[in-house]
């Protein structure tokens, strides 16, 4: 049988990573190059060519599918490089983007900077039209006035237009009428319609979302066309799929229509990869933990599914401050992000204790140990000082680390607290690990779960260095470190499937819900979603449909989502839905509100084929099998409060089935797995490293 290859390429901020998979065996080849911001597609071509060359002659013809994630949408918004965009609005709402929610994201900051809207005031146009809160037309559109608005749009020489009218999620016809009229006069204009991009109430957030979609659309349409052309030129015949923030992928056509959904495609793929690593080891409750140079991310995966949320914020003025960005209403993997990475800078704060991050040393001069003139003590300096990193094998030996520089920087900082360099290093490490554990603890608790029922999957350059200690603080029993840690999100792209999400914003009391009407609405959403799924390569018979009902006690402001199979929605299912709601509410909050009426706020429909557990391994065996340490070096052991010799292994020299006991260090090109406490370490059949913590150590 002919071999079938699947390609995944992820354009990140620094590197463009790729993985090719032999779909029959799960064997993988990896590629990497620096991201090419001037023409991001060039990096994709480079990486693909690199990988196909490894595989050999004729590989291009064997490619059946290319799955792609990119930071291009996010960067376009952060760097404000998007299109000249117009916004057509209901009369009276032209200032809504400036007024936003009237909140200060920092109560104590008197120099607060607010995020500027993507569409400037002079490119916003008001039109007299009105739909009421019941969905009825209050004021129809006057075509003569519409013509004048279109003339104004034409005279402004805009590249894209977004339309957002009040209550359009109940009645999209007015937005559609205006979109049709604009396209009739200006056939090349890209038009985004709010009811199609985010059919949900709250005009500011919907306006912000549709404006962002229009803002990135011209660039993304050109980019995706060019990318398809490059793949054709390289004689790669497979179909191109685009990853979404929701953790599923879609067709190029759908992505071009709705590019704002690509916002968090890379991080979403990373979480899918962690989900798959867990599934492959038989674990369905996983905390995906990723730590890179400037940030750490975490996401809860429960029963094999990553949590998804329906509101998101982009282009924050202050990266780690909730409320300082532009709201975007798209389904998005529910990641938390904190300012803790290898480059995070340690300092003494105003109350005389140690603070780490969120400020980060950039790559030049970088941490003190880079020896490039950096003076700040960072997390990487601490890791080096504690013996966790090998100064000669950082990034596979490409960058030599200088322990003397690290020690000087740490001693300088420690002096202020009367601490030696090594003590200071452990102080930094424990403060940053506790910060990550605290953030994860709150995130897990918000969803009503107990951290102890989770296993951690660690990725990113600094993830495996810190994972075991973070897991210990969270009382997690097990940590998994998959292969290809530097290109982890590509494995997620390969493990993902097509996915569509649709929303029906329709409020009703549970007791007064018209179930026939709801079933009809869900049926329409399903029809609409099927067409898009077909474009993503999913066969109708494979697709599973899940209905999410967002509910609350009448009068509350936050909702709880109850998830039920689509097939359950036949006839009056009020009692089933109520039971599910009460159970879910009680699980999260520990109590219910007796006698309070229950309200349904929003309906959501998700469709996708089942995601099979995928087992990836190196296509070509690496290193020799052997379980002897390659070295021994002193590392800091927190439970004994001092340094002791620990064995160091070459991770990929260890054969599946190998069993080792911590403390130990496993080195690989992209990262280092640090086990600085008693633990059982096993190499799984797919070369994932499994660490089982023994819970006798204390802080």
């Amino acid at each position: 049988m002919r071999r079938q290859l699947r390609i995944a390429v992820d354009i990140g901020g620094t590197f463009t990573d790729g993985i090719v998979e032999d779909a029959g065996t799960g064997g993988i080849w990896v590629g990497k190059c620096l991201t090419t911001p001037d023409d991001p597609g060039r990096g994709v071509s480079t990486v693909v060519a690199q990988m196909l060359a490894q595989i050999g002659e004729g590989a291009a013809a064997e490619v059946v599918e290319v799955v792609h994630a990119t930071t291009l949408v996010t960067n376009t918004i952060i760097e404000r490089r998007g299109a000249r965009t117009g916004l057509v609005l209901t009369t009276g709402t032209r200032d809504v983007c400036d007024i936003a929610r009237e909140l200060r994201y920092d109560l104590y900051d008197l120099d607060l900077e607010l995020p500027a809207p993507l569409v400037p005031h002079e490119q916003r146009f008001e039109l007299n039209e009105r739909v009421g809160a019941d969905g009825g037309v209050v004021q129809p559109i006057d075509t003569a006035e519409l013509d004048r608005v279109i003339a104004a749009i034409r005279s402004q020489k805009l590249d894209a237009v977004a339309i957002c009218f009040l209550h359009s999620y109940l009645r999209p016809e007015h937005e559609q009428q205006v979109a049709d009229a604009i396209r009739a006069v200006l056939p090349d204009m890209l038009v985004s319609v709010s009811a199609q991009i985010a059919a949900e109430p709250r005009e500011y957030e919907r306006m912000s979302t549709v404006a962002a979609n229009a803002y990135v659309q011209p660039l993304m349409v050109r980019y995706l066309e060019a990318l398809a052309g490059r793949l054709r030129d390289a004689n790669i015949g497979g179909v191109l799929r685009i990853m979404l923030s929701s953790g599923g992928f879609t067709s190029v056509e759908a992505a071009a229509q709705n590019p704002i959904q690509l916002l968090e495609s890379g991080p979403a793929a990373g979480v899918i990869s962690a989900t798959n690593t867990g599934a492959d080891a038989g674990l369905r409750n996983v905390l995906a933990f990723d730590m890179g140079g400037t940030t750490a991310k975490a996401c809860v995966v429960r029963d094999g599914e990553a949590l998804v949320k329906y509101g998101f914020e982009t282009a924050r003025v202050r990266r780690f401050k909730r409320g300082s960005g532009l709201p975007i209403l798209i389904p998005s993997i529910d990641l938390i992000e904190i300012g803790a990475g290898g480059g995070s800078i340690a300092s003494i704060n105003r109350v005389g204790t140690l603070a780490v991050g969120p400020e980060s040393s950039s790559s030049v001069p970088g941490p003190a140990c880079y020896g490039l003139g950096g003076e700040d003590a960072t997390v990487t300096d601490a890791d080096l000082m504690l013996g966790y990193l090998n100064p000669d094998r950082f990034l596979g030996g490409e960058m030599k680390l200088h322990k003397d520089h690290a020690e000087r920087a740490l001693a300088r900082l420690g002096d202020k607290l009367g601490k030696a360099a090594a003590e200071t290093a452990w102080g930094i490490c424990s403060v940053v690990n506790e910060a990550m554990a605290s953030a994860a603890r709150v995130h897990i608790a918000e969803h009503g779960h107990d951290p102890r029922s989770f296993s951690m999957v660690a990725t990113g350059g600094a993830g495996p260095v810190h994972a075991v200690d973070v897991a210990r603080r969270l009382r997690l029993a097990r940590v998994l470190c998959p292969i290809a840690v530097g290109a982890g999100s590509c494995l997620g792209l390969l493990a993902s499937t097509a996915r569509v999400d649709r929303t029906w914003a329709h409020r009703s009391l549970l007791a007064e819900t018209d179930w026939a009407e709801a079933a009809a609405a869900l049926g329409r959403l399903r029809e609409d979603g099927l067409a898009e799924l077909a474009g993503g390569g999913a066969a109708e018979s494979d697709v599973g449909w899940l209905v999410g009902v967002n509910m609350r006690y009448l009068g509350q402001g936050h909702d709880v989502e109850v998830s039920l199979p689509y097939a359950a929605f036949t006839g009056d299912v009020a009692s089933l839905v109520e039971r599910e709601f009460v159970a879910r509410y009680k699980h999260i909050y520990g109590l219910i509100v007796p006698d309070a009426p229950i309200e349904i706020v929003t309906w959501r429909l998700t469709g996708r084929p089942p995601r099979d557990r995928r087992s990836f391994t190196w296509a070509e065996a690496r290193g020799g099998a052997g379980s002897a340490p390659i070295a021994r070096r002193p590392i800091y052991l927190p439970f004994s409060g001092g340094f002791a010799e620990a064995p160091v292994y070459d991770r990929y020299a260890l054969a599946p089935g190998t069993q080792l006991a911590g403390p130990l260090i496993l080195e690989e090109r992209e990262s280092t797995i640090v086990v600085a406490q008693p633990a059982e370490v096993s190499i799984l059949p797919n070369l994932t490293v499994q660490i089982d913590l023994q819970s006798k150590s204390k802080q």
Binding site: D95, D98, I99, R130, L166, Q556
Partner: protein
Amino acid sequence: MSQKIDPFALEIIWTRLISIVDEAATTFVRTAFSSLAREANDYAVVITDAVGQAVAQSSVSIPSFTGTVPATIRYFLKRFPAETLQEGDVLITNDPWMGTGHVHDITIATPVFWRGTLVAFAGITSHMPDIGGRLRSSGIREIYEEGLQIPMLKLVEAGRTNSVIVDFIAQNVRVPEATMGDVWGEVAACHKVSERLHELLDETEVAFPDLSREIRARSEAAMREAIRQLPSGEYRYDIEHDGFEDKILIRACIKVAEESMHIDFTGTSPQLPRAVNVVPNYTSAYTIYGIKAMICPDIPNNQGSSVPVSIFAPEGCILNPRYPAPGGARGMIGHLLPVAVMGALSAAAPDRVWAPGSGNSALTIAGQHHGRPYAGVYFWNAGQGASQKRDGLSVISFPSNLSNTAIEQMEASVPIRVRHREIRRGSGGAGAHRGGDGLKFAFRFIGDSPAVCSFIMTRMKIAPPGLQGGEAGLPGRVTIDGKTTNIVEHIVLQPGSEVVIETAGGGGFGAPA
């Protein structure tokens, strides 16, 4: 024997304490029925030590509660001395003088025992969905009109709920499920704090009194250091407000002496038989907030950071009223305190102050439409003052932090049709830097029967003044069917009425060019 806590261990435990109160706060907000709790963070979760000294406070709580919950816990301790408290007790009150200044906030506290000893308290206060009485308005003359008063009581004693208290509250409020839902949500938040605190103490074995002392001492030292950066001296500022029959004066005299600060409000207007009186807890909360925002925004809130600041307001003045003065709209006057502090200290630190702007106004509307009851509370923010560095912010909440409500959500909840939500251009005062502009919001009332409305409007007569030569902004204005109205009492809105609300612009900073 007290132990010295290592600064690294301290940082870790401190982070944990703040994450404990934040986690409890998040859980509370998600279940809250009170729109003020969730839209406006009108709540605070606090951990105190066994004598009621604050050690950690939830990060996003609004300034009105800085230090009020620990003060309430100290009052609880007077009523229920430590030796009378036991595992499973839940304390409750909404006494304005011992709490936050109005009966709408219910404070709950639970003692935390560890290995048999009282080591801490978990406390929370939150604005209730309803507390009975008249709709909140500034025109109320006595506390008895404002709603149910809950003295200091044990809602739960050793795990057994006192159902008499529950029945009493439920009988006296308009929405008993929602109000009691929030009370039990507060209790759940305290239990969450307790549970997490146990985990922390079990893991670290740290002695809580030592921990409390260390955290407070470091915060106090940081606050003293920040005060030391200001030139010592005496600084004065007067700020006026609309008032009712007469205008209201806030007179602040701040003495900065090396590393401490004393604020004296002598000369401030007397208390009024209107709901704008500010109890000392609230006076203190907003005064300290103004100082912290100016000189040390990044120090965590706890007892230590307020020690170097003392505050005096003569008894009987509007900042220290006698019972039964009402205080439901206390924010109208309390919100002036941060700008009073900044006005006074503008001579000492001109680069760190804002000119006065305007606090928020509010509208409560209730009635029946298509035979169904509805009710809504909405906030109107205004323009803020300019600073030496830049123009004032337009239409933003300060010093509170109340969000607006989406037009689409308002129209789905109450029978109004919004005509516009706009920036009131040109309303900010002129100056080297201009004051921020206010809001212009207009709607048509489309209910099928009249609605009862209560407007709590601020800065309608006296506009926010400028600072250092900057000019005043425009005062706010409300018109109904084209007629300007100054509303203090409740009014009845007729179907078809057109309402236009304009909020004040902020003051300018520095003489205009």
